[in-house]
């Protein structure tokens, strides 16, 4: 079970702020492809955070059970 958090216009596209995917483990690249197939997220500018740290979308990273993934549109604080 991988948890993905959505924010801003990506939450809008996913019609959800968080979901739990029925996978125990997968690469970050595969995860992003899966999410794009569901919500066409590639149309949006966004960054990815894994366990609250920004990572490159291309990074060879294995996402597993306890990891917290978040898709972050451009920041707009202030």
């Amino acid at each position: 079970m991988i948890t993905v958090n959505y924010f801003g216009n990506i939450a809008e596209a996913a019609q959800s702020s968080s979901e739990t995917l029925d996978h125990d483990s997968m690469s970050l690249v595969d995860l992003l492809e899966l999410l794009d197939s569901k919500y066409s997220i590639a149309q949006f500018p966004f960054q990815v955070a894994v366990n609250r740290k920004i990572v490159s979308k291309q990074q060879a990273l294995n996402i597993s059970d306890s990891d917290e993934v978040a898709l972050l549109p451009p920041f707009a604080g202030g």
Binding site: F7, G8, R52, E68, A70, P73, F75, G77, G78
Partner: protein
């Protein structure tokens, strides 16, 4: 860890309270305060009437902690406070309040500027600009 996020607009009374709380610290000689106020920007034929803020709070708090530590390393500060609104903030209302205090004035302006820029660049906060025709668009910092 201090609380940064507040529900709704930041009131002038809240700011006055924060100032008053620093008047017992007699080593402080200079305060600098930055306030961000929601502007009625024009978007085509429409106008912004409010911004709805959301955040990824766990990550935001981690980032804010790092920013705070770095600021104390970088500048000679007695204390610093950062507050940001969540939820709806109407045009004319205040959504960010950065408050820096130091024995002397020299560094306070730069410290405030640095803190505001760090929050804008590195803290995951998202803003939905609500227009007067009830449409919306997603704010992007410039």
């Amino acid at each position: 860890m201090k609380k940064v996020f507040l529900e709704g607009a930041i009131s002038p009374e809240f700011i006055a309270d924060s100032i008053a709380k620093h008047q017992g610290k007699h080593s402080i000689g200079a305060h600098n305060i930055f306030l961000g106020q929601v502007r009625a920007d024009e978007v085509g034929d429409n106008k912004v009437v409010a911004i709805e803020y959301t955040t990824y709070e766990e990550m935001a708090n981690e980032k804010l902690y790092e920013i705070r530590e770095a600021a104390f390393e970088k500048f000679n500060l007695t204390c610093l406070h950062i507050y940001h609104s969540l939820g709806e903030v109407k045009v004319g209302d205040i959504c960010i309040f950065v408050f820096v205090s130091s024995p002397r004035r020299k560094q306070v302006y730069e410290a405030t500027e640095w803190l505001v820029n760090q929050v804008k660049e590195h803290v995951p906060i998202f803003g939905k600009e609500i227009l007067d025709n009830a449409d919306h668009q997603w704010k992007v910092n410039s």
